[in-house]
Symmetry: C2
Subunit: 330 residues, 2 copies
């Protein structure tokens, strides 16, 4: 295992120290492993929290800041954060207007956020949740009942974050979050496994001439393994399952996301291949992201996310955002 680490059991703690040093505008609670905005939530603003296992950076800690999350709870690598972390974050960010929990659909995350919500409500905090389940690859998976939550989470955090900043109340924020989730679909492909530091070896074996189609962001199995294909062929493997899953036509925000070990030159190349396929399916790409936004440690691979959009979603997308991972308009 070749990684920049000191001790496989201290990767999260050591990495959070670096986040704290790099981003003095954030407040990193190293003990509870929660990343907060530097300033308290504006009174009356709905607060947004997310979190999950680490290893997907910049998700979620890199999306804390003006126009996105108020706090992110970091679990150990590929391990859910605890209800205690989530409760501490929920209580800290509530400014009287309630708190939205943005949860990726993995059983541990769902259960722990549910417990945290109950505990917080018992303390008088209004909490609502949205569970993101946008991965069209498979139904049920290693750690998931139903569909896994992947790339749409990034777009949801941006759009719903902007709505909260604008003053949407908790009910409106929840309605919007559910609408974004319902309109988002993702599909991923891996060329290599990732290596979890505590395991010290690749999560799965993938021969030099094969790829995993429909891989999960923790290396969960996908739909099938196929011989290594050209970028053009892989683009079809990403686009087809999405456009067959729902009516993708119309305005859209599209993300071509790297899984951590794939360089930008290849991500742009893949983006160039998916665009004509999406356009042929009637997708009008109004905005896009190409880069590493929701990763799987050092996995070589990428995922495609298509979010059907409308004027409201595009307006909220364009609103200012100031976070380590996404920044524009301010």
């Amino acid at each position: 295992m070749k990684k920049f680490i000191n001790d496989a059991s201290a990767v999260l703690a050591d990495s959070l120290k670096g986040v704290a040093a790099a981003h003095p505008e954030l407040r990193v609670d190293l003990e509870n492993r929660v990343i907060y905005r530097g300033e308290a939530t504006r009174p009356g603003k709905v607060a947004l929290i997310s979190g999950g296992g680490s290893g997907h950076e910049p998700l979620h800690g890199g999306f804390v800041g003006t126009g996105m999350l108020d706090a992110a709870c970091a679990g150990e690598v590929f391990t859910s954060p605890t209800p205690d972390q989530m409760l501490a974050a929920t209580q800290a960010v509530d400014a009287g207007a309630g708190v939205l929990h943005i949860v990726k659909n993995y059983t541990g995350d769902v259960l722990n956020f549910e417990m945290a919500a109950e505990l917080a409500e018992a303390e008088g905090v209004r909490v609502a949740s949205v569970v993101v389940n946008d991965d069209v690859a498979v139904e049920d998976s290693t750690w998931t009942a139903g569909r896994r939550g992947v790339g749409t989470t990034v777009l949801l955090e941006k759009i719903v974050g902007a709505a909260a900043e604008e003053g949407y109340d908790l009910d409106a924020v929840v309605e919007l979050a559910q609408r974004v989730n319902a309109n988002g679909r993702s599909m991923g492909v891996a060329l290599t496994s990732c290596t979890v530091p505590a395991a010290g070896k690749p999560t799965f074996d993938l021969p030099e001439d094969e790829m995993e189609v429909g891989v999960g962001i923790h290396g969960e199995p996908g739909r099938h393994r196929v011989p290594l294909a050209s970028a053009k062929e892989i683009a079809a493997m990403l686009v087809d399952p999405i456009v067959h899953d729902f009516d993708a036509g119309g305005l859209a925000i599209v993300m071509l996301n790297g899984l951590g070990g794939t360089p930008l030159i290849e991500l742009y190349l893949m983006y160039g291949e998916v665009v004509p396929l999406l356009e042929a399916a009637g997708v009008s790409i109004e905005r896009n992201l190409v880069g590493n936004y929701i990763t799987s440690l050092d996995m070589a691979g990428c995922s495609l996310t298509v979010l059907k959009a409308d004027d409201e979603l595009l307006r909220l997308w364009d609103a200012p955002v100031v976070t380590p991972g996404l920044r524009w308009g301010a």
Copy 2:
């Protein structure tokens, strides 16, 4: 070789199509392989051009836009662009105030930019050049006489780009660029080789228990190979050669850069390790970047850049920038 490509000989052309699709605000000349801003240079503004071999993305094309470059010339992977490309770009962006060529110190780049400058001057365009040579690892290397040009290039393009936007004339822009280069130092380390698509196999062999200290961004040999070390030990291998090379004390902008195959969680962890070592050497880190800014295809590794700063440099650093790779303040 596991990469998202169609044809090893078409990687650059295919990737530029993706850049064009992802960034409609830029103008990508696919035939000449030059990335331009969408709008013509403002009359009287000094224009900035850079370029070099591809494989270092987002450098340089990802730094074209308001507050940074006016154009970037893309060579084939790890191959200098041609004088023709540079001449076309120079003529296209000149708005009467002259053009600065920002050149990384590799022999092919230096010779080709020199030839382009002569050709452009014969056509009546004022051209000046700065050659970046900030890599403290080695004197002379596979493709370089003297020191290689690496991470300081990113910081220089940002700072000098802001100065040109503010109205500095060509002489002032050149003086500033030389000052930034003189005040910047970098050092890198590789955990794995990169794989050039046209070669189809790793550029060099690096055993599972070894690392290359002082590696170049094309996989050029560094100072020595050592057993794989902890992040804390590697941080010292990055910081020590820099702080022994010049008086690093005082205000600084620091970049902890990923080489393409290393995920963000490890880059933050490394940043957390270099900060106390830099502080112990008297460096006061005023601004920082942590992420992939000047890469070496899919190489696992990182580099550290320390730029001694002053109030002028920090003001120019903070000025608005709108590019695919760096964006803030607008």
